[in-house]
């Protein structure tokens, strides 16, 4: 094994990617729960606060034929996969994974912000699971920010 490869393997796993993986796992289950609700597999969403029934039965709960929760499941799965891959020894320095993580979480947080806007001003009802998902996505986005200087540095 070359000296460079040894150094590469020895670098510790990036903390932000580990955080993203854990957050994406949490977000994945929240989105899966909302998807199960859409499929009629759960009882009424038990809300301490808010009105999930109104939000989930609104026209905005779907994008065409696809439930928003299914989009969430797909998004969190992709982020989880990327983050998990990104902490493996051979990928720890990968700027490409960093770029995908940043880009994906930027898309996710933008979509979440739009959904939160709909809840606040159009549907005028709150679903706390959607809010949890939005907060998780925001945290993922914040955790992805350290990737920016990495892939900019590599690109230049």
């Amino acid at each position: 094994m070359s000296e460079d490869a040894t150094v590469l393997h020895a670098s510790p796993p990036p903390m932000n990617r580990m955080v993203i993986a854990v957050l994406a796992m949490i977000g994945l289950f929240v989105a899966l729960y909302l998807m199960a609700h859409n499929m009629g597999l759960t009882g009424p969403i038990v809300c301490g606060v808010g009105d999930c029934g109104t939000v989930q039965s609104s026209v905005y709960a779907k994008v065409g034929p696809i439930p928003v929760s299914a989009i969430g499941v797909a998004g969190y799965l992709i982020l989880l996969y990327l983050a998990y891959l990104g902490v493996q020894p051979i990928q720890r320095e990968s700027p490409l994974i960093g770029a995908f993580l940043f880009g994906g979480s930027l898309g996710g947080v933008t979509f979440s912000a739009y959904l939160t806007y709909l809840e606040a001003f159009v549907i005028e009802a709150w679903c706390q699971y959607c809010v949890i998902s939005a907060v998780v996505m925001l945290l993922i986005f914040l955790a992805s920010l350290p990737e920016v200087p990495r892939f900019i540095r590599r690109a230049s």
Binding site: T6, V7, H9, A10, S11, P12, P13, M15, M18, A21, V22, M25, I26, L28, F29, L32, Y33, A36, M39, G40, L41, T42, G43, P44, V46, G53, S57, Y84, V87, P89
Partner: protein
Amino acid sequence: MSRGEKKRGSRGKGGSDMTKFGVILGVVALIGAGWLFWSVRGSVLGTPATGPLLELDLNDAEVYQELAQGITSGDPTGTIGIIEFGDYQCPGCGGFALAVKPQIDLALVQTGRAYFQFFDFPLTNMHPHAFLAARAARCAGDQDLYWEYHQELFRNQSSWSGRQSAVGAFLGYAQGLGLDQDTFEGCVKSDKYADVVTANMSLGQEAGVSGTPTIFIMVKGQGLRPVMRNDFQSIEAAIESALEDLETAGN
């Protein structure tokens, strides 16, 4: 510290971090999976009866008349009864239950002027959850909360009506009303009351019910009189008319 020791130290720390990371990720996955399974368990376990019992001879009047039974509020031995044939998944029945029935309860049932009786008439060809809803309400009736559950189903109709499966929602409403969960779940996930609901459907067909809600006035000794409109004023007017006829017949 030599360069080699530094590398080993770094590798050791990296390995330790990866172990912690794996444990945390695993714990989150386990908790999430457990929570998800607990949430959907109501829908993935059990096989509730969701349609009429085919083995029941719907053409044999003796069979279904013996089985059919409405749920009554008020004194069923009274002179005047208001009979509804209804479907829990029908929006018109929802409107009737939420807007008209409270007026009937207040002005007619609680004053002793009439009793109210509900017969299930699930339109199973267009409302896939209506039969199960009728059974679920009767399961709630086993714990003396039939009418509370009846209203709860209509109040939340838009929430459960469009789902692929409504079992989870029905269990949730029972929980909200404080019903014993195991007893209720056992009842819903069986075929209990499937015969009664099927018989009620046949009785409705015999009475000429073709849509829901269909309201009749039952006059003691004189049978059923259809009410053309389902608003409170029409029902009250039909009762007045029936009482006048009774008085005239008595004279």
